[in-house]
């Protein structure tokens, strides 16, 4: 069985800070990492491979330095890595990204299982997974926290806000995986040494993928960033007063207004 795990190299947004004077991002010292839930997807792929055999291919669209993320995935146990890198891919929104990834996966000869992270911590869109499933024409289940495979049929648990669903689907299929699914492994020291060995990583350009320039990158992206700005800085807090019934009612109303209740 061939399993493809698309992954994204992201800035570790948990360490991003705002310069309070200029209102801009401070990026010095912010490391690039494999998107955390993509690691959960990779861990799930590796455990399926351990149980049933097959190969795990990781694929990423990004700048040349995304090679680091792919090498790390190989060190964790992926058999092969493909880096889609070309100036023409830059500026892609989720539609163009899914189109590019889907075309590349078809070029690989397809696969039985695609495992994605639920969402990336820089964009938080959670869109590329379902869009890739549509591009590949396979069924999808999002927010998957558990996967069982039997005779080419997957039984998965899909998280809902108020519980979960048990869903059955015949492969090929695409699942987006949450952090509840597992705890990603750390690579062994020896694997870290050997992940730089020959034959583990291929770089594909626009011509290798075989798409036209109009369908990828900024050109192939219907959405445009019109402007960016810093969120409103926290103002002075509000003291609630009145009887205890009044204050808790006032608090509940404010929490509901911020979608916290």
């Amino acid at each position: 069985m061939r399993i493809v795990v698309p992954l994204k190299q992201v800035p570790d947004t948990n360490n991003v800070r705002i310069d309070p004077k200029r209102g801009t991002l401070i990026r010095e010292g912010v490391p690039s990492i494999i998107n955390p839930e993509d690691k959960n997807a990779l861990e799930l792929a590796l455990s399926v491979k351990a149980a049933r055999g097959g190969e795990v291919i990781v694929i990423s669209m990004g700048p040349p330095q995304a090679e680091e993320a792919l090498r790390e995935a190989v060190a964790m146990g992926a058999d092969k890595a493909i880096l889609l890198t070309d100036r023409a891919f830059a500026g892609a929104d989720t539609l163009a990204t899914a189109t590019t990834l889907g075309t590349a996966i078809r070029k690989l000869g397809g696969c039985q299982l695609i495992l994605c992270g639920r969402q990336a911590i820089d964009g938080d869109t959670a869109q590329v997974g379902p869009q890739l499933a549509e591009n590949l024409g396979v069924p999808q289940v999002t927010y998957v926290r558990r996967l069982d495979l039997e005779d080419g049929v997957a039984t998965v648990e899909r998280e809902l806000e108020d519980g979960h669903e048990v869903i059955q689907v015949k492969l090929p299929a695409l699942f987006t995986v949450t952090k509840e699914a597992n705890k990603p492994r750390y690579p062994h020291a020896r694997a870290i040494m050997s992940c730089y060995g020959p034959g583990k990583l291929e770089c594909w350009s626009l011509a290798d993928v075989g798409l036209s320039e109009e369908t990828v990158g900024l050109n192939g992206s219907p959405t445009k960033v019109k402007r960016t700005f810093s969120p409103q800085p926290k103002g002075q807090g509000e003291m609630l007063s009145g009887t205890k019934q009044e204050v808790v009612k006032a608090l509940c109303r404010r929490l509901r207004g911020r979608s916290l209740l």
Partner: protein, 402 residues
């Protein structure tokens, strides 16, 4: 590469370099220079006061997709267990405001089994037309079947805007649909506005973990699609006398349209998670009064779907175990909501929780430093306020926030 520096216009001010989240542009020899790490995210041209950064041609949609052929706003009216989600009503309310600016109608797509009574509820909050798809096959949300129905409806009706709640269902359906329609989709928006001149939907959302806000448009493709975070838009008061049209639609899905089968739906509160992953934390300090009062906090946390934390004072007193401790010698947390109960707010405690998005402080001492940090402060006894809050939530706020 699409991003170009127009050297004649560039005065080397460096604002672009400051604005870039990726370190993709620098000033060298008094002029901006684009580096290889540039992802062409489109942020820097906005920052340039002399308009010296050019992103090149914008994407060209399929020629037949003339945007003028698309009119009206369509809402995916998500329901669960035959109840409209609150976000569906919030979307209709917002769509009403936007539609009035555009001079168009608000239409809603209602899918499910036995959902006909919900149509009037949609009309009451502002829908002009409700497309009703009532069929046993649509009883439970299923990606393929719902996508097929919505795809055909959008192709027939040609709405200029389609909105979904950013729920686990909306965020499953909307991207699948956007890819099939080959149009743009913006995720998890927190504000929607209209650029009346350009007739464009301005979709604002947080990015980079909420560190910056971005306004996204979809200029050349239709429909313009967005998912919207539940709870950020106002829910309109229903007007039961409001009139609208209910259009009963035939459901043309067959078993072959289902790529997945829902075997079981289990309703349950989310399992308790560890402090670092928790979205809501109810934390107790010395002011809680003793170990026998921590169950009050647990009850509140349970109702909110959160977990219990503690200050060092409470842990050192032996009221609760160390794995609950938040602060410099405990855990650093970043929840959406942190309720500090009887915690004075020493610097060491603040170090572990100051990045919570919303902080509520309850303390008897009005001068406690925790109030300097709080979004909402209540001066009072935890032993009285927390039970009152539990009672209030049980009485009036159990409906759920979807």
């Amino acid at each position: 590469m699409n991003l170009k520096v127009i050297l004649d216009k560039c005065d080397g001010c460096g604002l672009c370099a400051q604005s870039c989240p990726f370190g993709g542009i620098v000033v060298e020899g008094g002029k901006a220079k684009v580096l290889d790490v540039c992802t062409e995210c489109g942020i820097c041209p906005e920052s340039c006061p002399t308009k010296a950064l050019d992103m090149g041609g914008v994407a060209v949609g399929p020629a037949e997709q003339g945007t003028a052929a698309y009119r009206h706003i369509l809402i995916f009216a998500e329901q669960r267990d035959l109840k409209l989600t609150r976000v569906a009503k919030q979307l209709v309310g917002k769509a009403r405001d936007l539609a009035n600016l555009l001079g168009v109608k608000v239409k809603a797509a209602l899918l499910g089994k036995g959902v006909e009574p919900l149509a009037q509820e949609l009309v009451a909050v502002g829908a002009d037309v409700v497309f009703l798809y009532d069929d046993p096959k649509l009883a439970n949300y299923q990606t393929d079947a719902y996508t097929k129905v919505m795809f055909e409806l959008i192709n027939a009706e040609k709405p200029e805007i389609v909105l979904f709640g950013a729920t686990h269902i909306g965020r499953d359906l909307a991207p699948r649909l956007a890819q099939r329609l080959a149009t743009g989709l913006t995720a998890d928006c927190t504000e929607l506005e209209i650029d009346e001149g350009e007739r464009l939907l301005l979709q604002t959302r947080p990015a980079f973990g909420g560190n910056i806000m971005a306004t996204i448009t979809c200029p050349e493709h239709r429909p313009q699609m967005a998912t919207v975070r539940p709870g950020v838009l106002r829910e309109p008061d229903p007007d039961p006398s409001r009139r609208g049209e209910v259009v009963v639609k035939a459901v043309k899905v067959t078993d072959a349209d289902f790529g997945t089968v829902v075997l079981q739906i289990i309703k349950a509160a989310k399992q308790a998670v560890n402090l670092e992953d928790a979205e809501i934390i109810v934390s107790g300090g010395r002011g809680v009064g003793g170990p026998d009062k921590f169950p009050l906090l647990e009850e509140l946390a349970g109702l909110l779907g959160g977990v219990v934390g503690a200050s060092r004072a409470a842990v050192d007193s032996g009221w609760i175990s160390h794995d609950h401790q938040v602060g410099q010698t405990g855990k650093t947390v970043r929840p959406k909501l942190y309720i500090a109960c009887g915690i004075s707010g020493a610097v060491q405690h603040q170090a572990g929780m100051k990045d919570a998005s919303c902080i509520v402080a309850i303390n008897k001492d009005p001068l406690a430093p925790i109030f300097q940090l709080a979004d909402y402060g209540i001066v009072g006894d935890v032993k009285e306020i927390v039970p009152a809050m539990v009672a209030e939530i049980k009485a009036n706020w159990m409906e759920g926030k979807l």
